[in-house]
């Protein structure tokens, strides 16, 4: 067993693990990672009075903690798919939610999210294609007019892409393959010129709103949780700082699509790495910002309880990602945090708090 959750300071995102959107209150936002000998393992905090952090083999988890039906299904899915990156975990989470085991509203949200992913993928692919044509001076009003979905539009697109490949000294098939790879890597973030921001860009916007709301709460509400709220805002701000820097370089490189297609080996690796880092950076924040959105509709006492809960699962930046000692800062607010934590279920008897489960499901239902 490791020491308390606050004492644990991972060096990298991979070591920190990816947050899993379980609905069992004790396991909410528990992190899975690949341990020694590449076996999946899980970090379970607060099994006894909030003092410990257990590293448990992933497969052994159901024997240690009573889980909801949703979590049993999601757990099995992660075992089967050996998932442990944020993207893989998200895919498994959406599949579990779509099964309806977190309630009909969460199932509807999961269906919407999957549809949006598909639409975003198609849109990004199309916008990148137009960028390539523009980069080599081949903008075609006829193609846009015909629409890429029509036979005529497809024919014109093929013609133009063949000419674009010539200009870039590439085989047409290779150009298509590279386009598909860039689109797949870029779609979760989204393009600056896209009419709808990608999922991760939206995540950044939500994180900024969260930071502002937390700062305001900390300044305006006379409550023991105010320093905790200030800390949450601080962690959000550091995350935003890093995210904004990544996004600036990411957008610059994607905008230079012509050079990207030519200097593929070096440039694409950087873009893919940026997209992955964005996913890791925002991992766990969707639940945090969503839970706070829900809490904003409630009274101050409930909001204070939510802040203290969020503190427990706050995605602190790993040591290699930030010079700020977040673990040290977290320790300073721990004494306040312990005062008013909402009781989780008694893990020894297995009695689960239905209201707490419902709160988590409500967050899941608003944003999958």
């Amino acid at each position: 067993m490791l020491k308390g959750a606050i004492d644990y300071a991972p060096s990298t995102f991979e070591e920190r693990g990816a947050a899993v959107a379980f609905t069992t209150p004790l396991l909410s936002q528990t992190r899975v990672r690949r341990g020694e000998r590449t076996k999946l393992e899980v970090l379970i905090p607060a099994l006894s009075e909030g003092m410990g952090l257990y590293v448990v083999p992933w497969k052994a988890m159901p024997e240690m903690v009573p889980m909801t039906m949703h979590d049993r299904y999601l757990h099995d899915l992660i075992v089967k798919e050996e998932a442990c990156s944020p993207q893989e975990i998200r895919r498994a989470t959406l599949k579990a939610a779509k099964r309806g085991l977190a309630g009909p509203q969460a199932a509807q949200a999961a269906r919407r999210a999957l549809e949006e992913d598909e639409e975003q993928g198609t849109l990004t692919h199309y916008l990148l294609l137009l960028s390539i044509l523009k980069a080599v001076g081949l903008e075609s009003p006829e193609m846009l007019k015909a629409g890429i979905g029509t036979d005529e539009g497809q024919r014109l697109t093929r013609q133009l892409m063949a000419r674009a490949a010539d200009s870039l000294n590439l085989e047409a098939n290779l150009l298509y393959a590279r386009l598909a790879e860039v689109a797949a890597a870029v779609a979760p973030v989204g393009l600056a010129q896209s009419p709808k921001p990608g999922r991760l860009l939206r995540g950044m916007q939500e994180l900024k709103s969260f930071r502002d709301s937390m700062t305001q709460w900390a300044n305006e509400v006379p409550n023991d949780a105010a320093p905790v709220a200030a800390f949450c805002a601080d962690v959000a701000q550091h995350t935003i700082g890093i995210g904004d820097a990544i996004l600036t370089d990411f957008q610059r490189r994607v905008d230079a699509i012509g050079p990207l297609m030519r200097d593929w080996e070096t440039d694409f690796a950087v873009i893919r790495n940026h997209a992955r880092r964005m996913a890791w950076l925002l991992d766990g924040w969707t639940h945090v910002t969503g839970a706070w959105e829900v809490a904003l509709t409630e009274d101050r006492q409930q909001q204070a309880l939510t802040i203290n809960e969020l503190f427990r699962i706050l995605p602190l930046l790993p040591k290699k990602e930030s010079r700020v000692d977040m673990v040290g800062a977290a320790k300073r607010v721990t004494s306040v945090h312990r005062r008013s934590v909402r009781m989780l279920e008694d893990w020894r008897t297995g009695e689960m708090d239905m209201d707490a489960i419902r709160r988590i499901e409500r967050v899941k239902a608003r944003a999958a």
Partner: protein
Amino acid sequence: MTRSSRTRPPSGASDPERATPDLLPSLERRLLSIPDDKFLEVVRLLERVRDHPDVRQTFESIRPRLAQMRPERRPTLKRVLCLPFEDVLEGVGGGEGPLGRIERRVIAPLWGIIEDGADRHQLDQLDRMVQEVAPGDHNALLNIGRRLWPLAAQVLRAAVEDDRSRQALWRRLHGDEGLQRQVIDAAAYLDIGLTIEALKSDLSPRPLPELEDHHIAAIEQAAQAVARQSVTAVYPLLLVAAARLATPADLLRVLNDLDLGKARREQPALFAQLSGLVVSNLEARSARFDGNADRAGRPTVTPEDVMATAEGLIASVTTTTNVMDRLNEPIYRDRLAAVTSAVGAMVAESVLDTAPQGILTAIPAPGGPPGVDEDAQIAAEDHVRALRRCDRLADTLGLRQQVNETIKRMGQGVEARAQALLRDYPQRVGDASAAEAAELTLFYSLRLMELLAGSAKADPLRLAILAAIGESPDPE
């Protein structure tokens, strides 16, 4: 393939500028279903013509949604007048009735009396000041109230005390003694308007979930302040305090320990008055339970609403009973027992008796048309949650056996229906869409089972479903 609940499309009411007042009655129902932002937009527009009778009627019918959303309303002098007693204004549609309530229908005649009796010039001046107040500027409203409330209280009292004006008042109130009593009560609240406003700020948000030490200190301080003015002013102040609590009976618990300053000698009488009122209020609220069905006898509130009300009432009954027992006051014991019994009857009728219809019918019979009714699933899950909440109150309500039997019967019913669906599943496999719908239905029945009986008891069904659909967990 799902028949999911979807956001209703914006209705014609989204273009209120073209809606003439004649059309408003037909739009009222739509106003209750349009999205929040549209609703607020319509409210803002209607406020500009709020004196039109149809618009007033529209505001009455949308009051439940207004009460829920509490949009920032344009301030008016009449609204400033009501601030000191707004917490004791009757609830909407038979909802929670505050202690010592003042009915909304008293406001119009009350305002008429003030307009007739007060100095016109002074009222006009205050009215102009109100019109310049920005929405949300509470301090500006308090400054106007500081001048309006004593003036209004004086006018109301004169109208009651003077023989000639009493006759005019009587006519205005259509000879309704209840309304006349409320006019006098309103004057008492207006007398201490500023202290009430300060106390409201200390006892925020409303309803206050817990009565903490600093709240008690604020009540004590306010009571001492108004007692210096008049000992009779303490009672209306306490009514406002009670109305701001989630469990008004909490005030009874601490009342005898308060130092009421100059009203110290009135303490026993105040306690008796307040406890009588608390019990009468509980009786009235439990009696209102009986009106929760439409003409065809179908319940108009959800089982979860019933449980929320039941929990609030039982919390109040328990607190009141404890206070009375501690003070050895047996007079209310039978009446409180009758309230508990009425709550139990309503819970049995609205949550237990309706469980088969509310829960089991969400699981379709095998062989039915493909598709999943997610609205029915949502309603069934809410019903199960109400049943579980009922479990927590079962002993207090004397429903232990009935609750246990209902939960057991629902568990067996869900299990039987899920097994029937499992047997039917192989016939759906050929059609991808039908298979997907059948799997979703199976998982939804598993969820009902979990909510009813807990995850350990639901697990065998989970494994059976996974085996049937070919997704069994990897063997160790």
